[in-house]
Amino acid sequence: MSTTPPPLRLTCDDAEATRGVGALVGRFAEPGATVLLQGDLGAGKTVFAQGVGRGLEAPTVVNSPTFVLVNEHLGGRLPMRHADLYRLDDLDQITELGLDQAAEGGILLVEWPERGQGALPDDCLHVHFSPLADDVSEDQLDASPRELVLTSNGRNAETLLSQLAQSLSPVSA
């Protein structure tokens, strides 16, 4: 019997710290891992995905898949598929992307997953992003802090979350 690990709360002081957490996910993830990235515009979802790409040692530039819907990054430890449901509001369109199968043999990242409930794998790591500072200089946006809350649903995600928790020292439990 596995016990569900508690939520992991992390404070990332800047974009590089968010990439660092993503990189750990890229390093630890087993084939089939699904990571849902939830947060408002500019909250750090794509930055986190860049970190996952780095952790996988993928050679490609990880940028926003909002219009392309799904970007595929090959050449790393595992293939990474990076999806974005921002533009899709019709569950039929989302189902057509075949995301329930897209994690197979690799790692699937999904931005704006709240739009695709029912069309996504059940076993997933959930990362919720929220900005911590109200008043940030526009020249220092990369240096604005974020809170990341990681929770798991399903066996594989629980294992991944436990590994992450072991290698990070959370600011608060």
Binding site: D40, G42, N63, S64, T66, V70, R81, Q93, L97, D134
Partner: protein, 346 residues
């Protein structure tokens, strides 16, 4: 001898066909909007992209040939967008193209969607202002759309390399997301341009400029911070109960995007010694971007007419004529940004 290609493009929500002669003449260009199909065939077209394409493909192919006044025997090749795009939508176009190529014994030429956008600049309607001459090599090409913000260095049709790209959001994506933040209708590009046109210089001056990401030493772009800066200003105004000057904010945003695009494109053209700059993709329809590029670049700046900036099949047919890479009939689509734009076969 002329070379005529029937081109199909179905990477997104529209199914388009075109017949292009010698990479220049647009003998026909049909985009399956509901209105066009309705006018010709009187059917009601369902909304869902993939299924819609399936119903549109035969009428569009037929309408394209009819409009060109040609039959299947007059064609020399079939071209099709292989990717990137929505997998289900691409499959419809690629399989239609394969079937047509097999049935008529014609070569199949797969085209990368981005290469297609670039080659809109080689079509006759894009040459009108240039004494009919094609863009001179070597050139720097800026592809700027909802999904892409990329710079290419083209020494000729064979030697093409991507020298820069966005590290986060595409410029068109930033337009759409900021449009939504400002409460403007979709799509954000034309709406922001329209709103910005209503801003007076005094009201624009009352707003601080928005940030620009220069990423010095590279030809790369970043628009994510600009989007976040607009979001923060909107939030701050909401929290303070103050109204947002939407036209002025739209103008400040558009100014930031076009300034960075024009400046970085001009610098690339200068450092590489380009003879001209070509622009392509949906955001190339933005008037402020055209003006900024023409103000800043020392070499001629070519932008296709607006109807050739958005997705169409004519550009796919043009690219196919200049890059006649024939493919076996078992090619697959690619729904992602995976392969290089100008890798062999694309």
């Amino acid at each position: 001898m002329s070379f005529r290609v029937l081109a199909l493009e179905s990477s997104c929500d529209e199914f388009a066909g075109a017949v292009i002669e010698d990479g220049i003449e647009v003998l026909a260009s049909v985009v399956a909007t509901q209105a066009e199909i309705h006018a010709r065939y009187g059917g009601v077209v369902p909304e869902v992209a993939g299924r819609e394409h399936l119903r549109n493909l035969a009428p569009v192919m037929q309408a394209t040939l009819e409009s060109a006044g040609l039959g299947w025997d007059d064609l020399d090749a079939i071209a099709v967008t292989q990717g990137p795009g929505l997998g289900g939508s691409l499959l419809v176009g690629v399989n239609a193209a394969k079937a047509a190529a097999w049935a008529r014994g014609l070569p199949l030429i797969p085209v990368h969607h981005i290469a297609g956008h670039l080659y809109a600049n080689w079509l006759r309607p894009a040459r009108d202002d240039w004494d009919d001459a094609p863009p001179p090599f070597p050139l720097v090409a800026l592809v700027v759309s909802g999904g892409h913000t990329e710079l290419f260095w083209m020494q000729d049709h064979e030697r093409v390399e991507r020298i820069g790209q966005t590290r986060d959001d595409a410029a068109g994506e930033a337009f759409d997301k900021v449009g939504r933040l400002l409460g403007l209708p979709f799509p954000g590009g034309p709406e922001i341009e329209r709103a910005a046109g209503q801003a007076t210089p005094e009201r624009i001056a009352a707003l601080d400029p928005l940030p620009r990401a220069w990423l010095p030493g590279t030809h790369d772009f970043s628009f994510s911070g600009l989007k976040t800066a607009v979001l923060n200003r909107v939030r701050k105004a909401e929290a303070a109960g103050e109204p947002i000057d939407v036209p002025a904010m739209a103008a400040r945003f558009q100014e930031s995007v076009t300034h960075v695009l024009a400046e970085k494109t001009a610098r690339a053209a200068e450092s590489l010694g380009a003879a001209c700059v070509v622009v392509a993709g949906g955001v190339a329809a933005n008037g402020a971007l055209r003006d900024a590029l023409r103000d800043r670049c020392a070499v001629p700046v070519r932008v296709p007419p607006a109807r050739l900036c958005t997705d169409n099949a004519a550009m796919i047919g043009a690219a196919a004529c200049y890059r006649q890479t024939r493919a076996p009939l078992d090619i697959d689509v690619f729904s992602t940004s995976g392969p290089e734009v100008f890798s062999p076969g694309n």
